[in-house]
């Protein structure tokens, strides 16, 4: 019996054309969610089926692919998606942000600045930023059509009324090109400023919800806020325990069952690069507090 063979990058050509047409419209209307006929993929929803379909539609033999899951190149999800494309498209894969031409990501934007010519593909679970405020698709469509985003500001205001500050820390809503309010996928709001005026093309794929949207390069992306409660980045008051970086997003790692923990860069490539360059952290397990604002 012959081993099953697939088309280049798994998807059939007709599906790729359909996704490619959706991507072009998404780029032409920044932040607008283009419906597409999402296919079943050989992985469950929630594992990046939207991102995988976008990557499959754009990937070519000359591309170098990097896949990250929460910043890490070596988690199960990242490794299996990388292997999937190494197998079905024969592309070169990498963990280096700089060497990659296509980066598929779940919930992080790499710390290293992206450059023109790179494509960042986000895996998106729920593309509609207004969904938890208005469950009906017909209504959210109309709200986007009318640019009626008062409800989102009310939600942020209620955060302030309840907690004294905007407590949304991930999937923080942004306005793209001064028109569409968009969900940046569940990236920490720490990453939001990286989306603004980015030289790379950013594509978003939501497989279960069947939506594709995009931010072209050099496009304004503004995190929603108020004059008296301006947007602030999530900030840590300690450096990475491994590389000493003070400007990166940190993961909390519990190191024993007595409550000891360490904070290390979520972006493994960035952290390893800094360590290779001689930067050292405390590598201690000293617990420290993080400040939500500062």
């Amino acid at each position: 019996m012959n081993a099953p063979t697939y088309n280049f990058a798994y998807l059939d050509e007709q599906t790729k054309r359909m996704i490619r047409r959706a991507i072009l419209k998404a780029i032409a209307i920044p932040g607008y969610q283009v419906p597409f006929a999402s296919r079943e993929m050989p992985m469950p929803y929630g594992w990046g089926t939207g991102g995988v379909q976008v990557t499959a539609a754009i990937l070519g033999p000359k591309d170098v692919l990097k896949v990250i899951d929460q910043g890490s190149d070596d988690t199960t999800n990242a490794i299996s998606i990388r292997k999937f494309f190494a197998k079905t498209a024969g592309v070169e894969t990498t963990t280096s942000t700089d060497a990659a031409t296509v980066i598929q990501t779940r919930h992080r934007i790499p710390e290293a600045p992206l450059r023109a010519g790179q494509v960042l593909v986000y895996q998106v679970p729920i593309p509609e930023p207004l969904r938890f405020l208005e469950p009906r698709e017909t209504e959210t469509r109309r709200m986007h059509a009318l640019a009626e985003y008062g409800l989102m500001h009310v939600k942020l205001y209620e955060d302030i009324a309840r907690f004294g500050h905007i407590a949304t820390s991930y999937a923080y809503p942004v306005k793209v090109n001064a028109r569409y309010v968009m969900d940046p996928s569940p990236t920490p709001k720490f990453d939001n400023p990286k989306m603004d005026n980015c030289p790379a093309l950013q594509l978003f794929g939501a497989g279960r919800e069947k939506r594709i949207y995009a931010i072209p390069p050099y496009t304004s992306v503004v995190s929603l806020d108020f004059e008296d409660h301006p947007f602030t980045r999530y900030k840590f008051d300690a450096p990475c325990a491994l590389c000493g970086a003070e400007d990166s997003y940190l993961d909390e790692i519990v190191t024993d069952n007595k409550g000891s923990r360490m904070f290390v860069c979520s972006d493994t490539d960035y952290c390893e690069g800094r360590q290779a360059a001689g930067h050292r952290g405390t590598e201690s397990v000293a617990p420290h507090k993080e400040a939500a604002h500062g």
């Binding site: 047409r21 070519g60 028109r179 072209p216 304004s220």
Partner: protein, 203 residues
């Protein structure tokens, strides 16, 4: 009487990989309006169709994309048959029902409002216009700005119709509805999505 036969030109030599690389060229063009991109793949096509237009057609068209052709393409004996054979796209008479419009002689481009402009809820349901223009290297210089452009970019082109950018100003009033345009000269192409504005318009 023997039936007249037309020898069809080939399409891509490698359907899968040429469609991929052409798509990346078009995607880069759409993401960086005003920049000239070049289709590198070998592509056949009818004599009246520029290779860039043929490559885009083979990459993006299929049975799901109603296609509108201008008079010049409709008159050419081999264009309809070539498109039908290689893409299967249904050729429609109503321009406002088309996903794509291929225009050989843009000087006679009909009123832009006659194409599909999308709806406020679904602005993506609009016609993408593909125009064969006289030159994307010489002619008048246009200063463009908008998403995808770092500040401002200059496009030097000889356009047809000459007042294309003035006519595309409907995109500004209609946004997010509007028309996305791809200009083709030989193998070179430039995309003008609906967000691109003339910098001199001052808005």
């Amino acid at each position: 009487m023997a039936p007249m036969t037309i020898e069809l030109q080939p399409g891509f030599a490698d359907k899968v990989l040429s469609a991929q690389s052409t798509f990346r060229t078009v995607m880069e063009a759409m993401a960086r309006p005003g920049q000239v991109m070049v289709v590198g793949d070998e592509v056949g096509g009818p004599s009246s169709m520029m290779p860039g237009v043929a490559a885009i057609a083979l990459t993006l068209l299929d049975q799901e994309t109603p296609l509108w052709l201008d008079e010049a393409f409709l008159r050419a004996p081999d264009v309809g048959a070539w498109l039908k054979f290689h893409t299967g796209a249904p050729i429609v008479g109503r321009s406002d029902a088309a996903s794509f419009a291929l225009i050989a002689e843009p000087a006679t481009l009909p009123d832009l409002a006659s194409f599909a402009l999308g709806t406020p809820e679904y602005p993506d349901r609009s016609t993408t216009l593909i125009l064969q223009v006289p030159s994307l290297t010489a002619g008048q210089t246009f200063h463009l700005r908008g998403p995808g452009i770092d500040g401002m970019t200059a496009l030097t082109a000889s356009l047809a119709p000459a007042d294309l950018f003035a006519r595309l100003s409907i995109n500004e009033a209609l946004f997010p509805r509007g028309l996305d345009v791809i200009l083709v000269d030989g193998r070179s192409l430039v995309a003008i999505p609906r967000t691109t504005r003339l910098a001199s318009s001052g808005v």
